[in-house]
Symmetry: C2
């Protein structure tokens, strides 16, 4: 395993594959990599991170996403893409609109407010409790996921995920039926988390519908992410739940806790149930 964290000068997979460059027309260009694939498409969280990185590049004084809402309009594919960032209100925080395009097609349209998480420190009155995951060594690594899933979902190879056994029954065709998924998480090359990478982590686990006995693609209609603090280095704990699968749609909530026991990011998405 290469280690981006420990090899001087090494660039992580995440940084390389979410990099953006300014174009002459004021937009930003990116090269979407097939390494973050889900079937013929690309992981939604990866697309969020590319857009999130482009917005960061466009906003030197507001480096961190505070909240970002993405509407998925068409399936992205590996290859060139552009991101247009349009300021909507600039101040201590900045609100922008952004589109991720490939050719004439918009993949994602986004609204987001960025700021500086260092100035949003303040008191913490969290009543939420971190998910109680089994110890790392008792969890099920993603390398034990079904082979047909791993070959289809290349994005899984980018991560070191350790699934809590209580909601990993779907690995062996025995979902809990509760609609929950929880795992320890880090990048496979040890790249440490930061606010933009949390946008990816919020949509990196398999859909929570796997635990409802409904495996398969669950296309996201909309996802809103709140990033609440800079994550401490080390393992993240990620938990997904759904409470309302109804009418062909389900909501999926995600929370991410860092190694310092801080709730660093939350998201909710509305997605289509697998057929």
């Amino acid at each position: 395993m290469t280690s981006a964290a420990t090899t001087p000068g090494a660039r992580s997979e995440f940084d390389r594959d979410t990099a953006v460059a300014p174009a002459e027309d004021g937009s930003l260009t990116a090269e979407l990599s097939e390494k973050w694939g889900v079937g013929p498409g690309l992981n939604g969280g990866y697309q969020l991170a590319v857009v999130g990185n482009a917005i960061r590049a466009a906003l030197p004084a507001q480096p961190d996403p505070l909240v970002l809402s993405a509407y998925f309009l068409s399936p992205a594919a590996p290859g060139p893409a552009t991101v247009d960032v349009t300021p909507r209100r600039m101040g201590r925080t900045a609100t922008v609109a952004a589109d991720l395009r490939q050719g004439d097609d918009v993949r994602l349209t986004v609204l987001a407010t960025y700021g500086d998480l260092d100035t949003e420190s303040g008191d913490v009155h969290t009543t939420a409790l971190p998910p109680s995951l089994a110890p790392l060594e008792e969890c099920v690594p993603n390398t034990q996921a079904p082979a047909e899933l791993r070959s289809l979902v290349t994005v899984m190879e980018r991560f070191d995920m350790r699934f809590d056994p209580a909601c990993a029954g779907w690995f062996a065709g025995q979902p809990s039926g509760r609609g929950e998924m929880a795992a320890w998480f880090r990048f496979a090359d040890d790249r440490e988390p930061d606010p933009v990478s949390l946008l990816l982590v919020l949509d990196a686990l398999p859909p929570v519908t796997f635990d409802l006995g409904r495996p398969g693609w669950a296309p996201t209609m909309e996802l809103t992410a709140h990033v609440r603090a800079k994550p401490a280095p080390g393992w993240l704990r990620v938990r997904h739940t759904t409470r309302n699968a109804a009418g062909h749609l389900f909501e999926e909530d995600c929370e991410i806790w860092d190694s310092a026991d801080r709730l660093v990011a939350q998201s909710r998405q509305l997605a289509r149930l697998p057929r």
Copy 2:
């Protein structure tokens, strides 16, 4: 009390004050009423409903909001407003961008996907349980809210709200500290709920921070609403919670249950803690 539901030909306060009319330039015009006020500004849910109604008017084949994300850019005031609706993807569902403007200022910028909730019926596998509210007659009506609050927050007069005593201690200066608020809800003139009016109901109760002992204005940065079913007539049950008040910000989750025990709408917002 006038009854919009029972008086033939009567138009409810909600319908009158969220009405939109087409303008020559393709936008829609509205007249924001001071009756939905919070201090010198206007209730955020009321603004959502005006925009939601304008989007509905622009989309004859997709009558219902499925998901709507709003970013609040500047405080709205009573008076004329315009809503511009821009199609982003049209199909069985429609995704649009919309701005609520007053003069040169954008109040709200929105992304939304609309569809037909009648075609999104399907199976219901909700594991969520309705909030266990005390019976109506044991709850605290909004007419018993502190007088200084009622005179400041005129929007409260539009509603018949019955607060569950377990989280109504703030009426008498004794908040529970749990960060919860729950109430029976209907319009004061008995106007029955529908999908667009749920956008208002999701942000109609006082901020959940009242129950944390932090009364005062809690300006919304962003709110995303999911509307999951057409509400049955009658009383709604509305529950707000927060779990992560940290760094000057807090998230506020809301769910709305109808008289048929269906979870008809959910929202999450990111807001600034009162000073």
